[in-house]
Symmetry: C2
Subunit: 186 residues, 2 copies
């Protein structure tokens, strides 16, 4: 138990829904790697797991991290460098949770995020209090058209969706991560 929040992020590329509601694997994008690392660093998250079962994509992430890690000259001073250090590619959401257990000696609370309303969801105000009263928390974000049932099923809690002003709810996942962290941690 800790009073300082220990927040981890997971960006899930499988199992994900596509626009037709079918289960798919989405591609890792360079953009999500960089943007979400910088957002995570801003709010002092402890780690950022990129979840994909595709070996080649996990290797690509490792190579990208290595480029900034071992780079010389301007790369050394670039603020992206410290942000990218937060990243760990993993093959599954379960593996992300197990890595947190290993590091923190406590299994994390998995929190599903969704753009869809859910009556059982925990509000932002409740979650803001909860993160100070519990151990590590893994905030789980879906790509594509959201987390598939199997990923939802691994989560302990669902977080309230972000409601826009006019019913339009197609935020980029990068923007959703920024807003969620700001609401919980700012």
């Amino acid at each position: 138990m800790s009073s300082e929040p220990q927040i981890y992020l997971a960006l899930v590329h499988y199992p994900i829904l596509n626009q037709a509601g079918k289960e798919v694997t989405t591609s890792v994008t360079n953009l999500d790697v960089h943007d979400i690392a910088r957002i995570a660093k801003t709010y002092d998250c402890k780690g950022y797991f990129i979840v994909t079962p595709i070996d080649a994509q996990r290797q690509m992430i490792t190579k990208l991290r290595h480029h900034w890690d071992k780079g010389s000259g301007p790369l050394l001073d670039h603020p992206r460098r410290v942000a990218l250090e937060l990243i760990t590619p993993v093959a599954s959401l379960k593996e992300a949770a197990e890595q947190i257990l290993k590091k923190e000696n406590e299994y994390p609370t998995l929190v599903a995020t969704s753009a869809r309303a859910n009556r059982k969801a925990v509000s932002f105000a409740e979650m803001r209090r909860l993160i100070h009263k519990t151990g590590p928390v893994l905030l789980v974000f879906g790509t594509g058209w959201g987390l598939a049932e199997q990923a939802m099923g691994l989560c302990n809690i669902g977080l309230e969706s972000i409601n826009g002003v006019n019913g339009y709810n197609h935020l980029p996942v990068r923007a959703a991560v920024a807003i969620v962290l700001d609401r919980l941690l700012a």
Copy 2:
């Protein structure tokens, strides 16, 4: 005077500072076009101006909008379509303000955003009240390493910077837009 906020966004590509503090023109990225349009639509902004003095880049934006506007099949139903309708490419920040004047019959209040602390800046709480008591507001975001002095000088007010948890302040501009709109309008 209106009680419902009339918020417009401007993403400025000139005049901008680079990492060395020199005035430059940055490139329009496809990513900023799409992401910020979707964020703007979520918070019911009235328009999103992309400011660049480079003709070819403004034409590229118009072509991109046209692709989604006149596209057929899946494009028609895609939620990006209504978001991209908010976009107008303009050659300068002044042109953006003049287009708002023409549409709203009132010159907008220009609000500079910055990642740098500024003692004279208006707080988010103050700005949240202000937007309900004034006419159109143009929130001005810089690319690169932020708005150059000349762009700052056109603005009436500076908005408080977004403070992270640990002093790291290198949010992607897309994330900054999401957080600012959420703080002002959610």
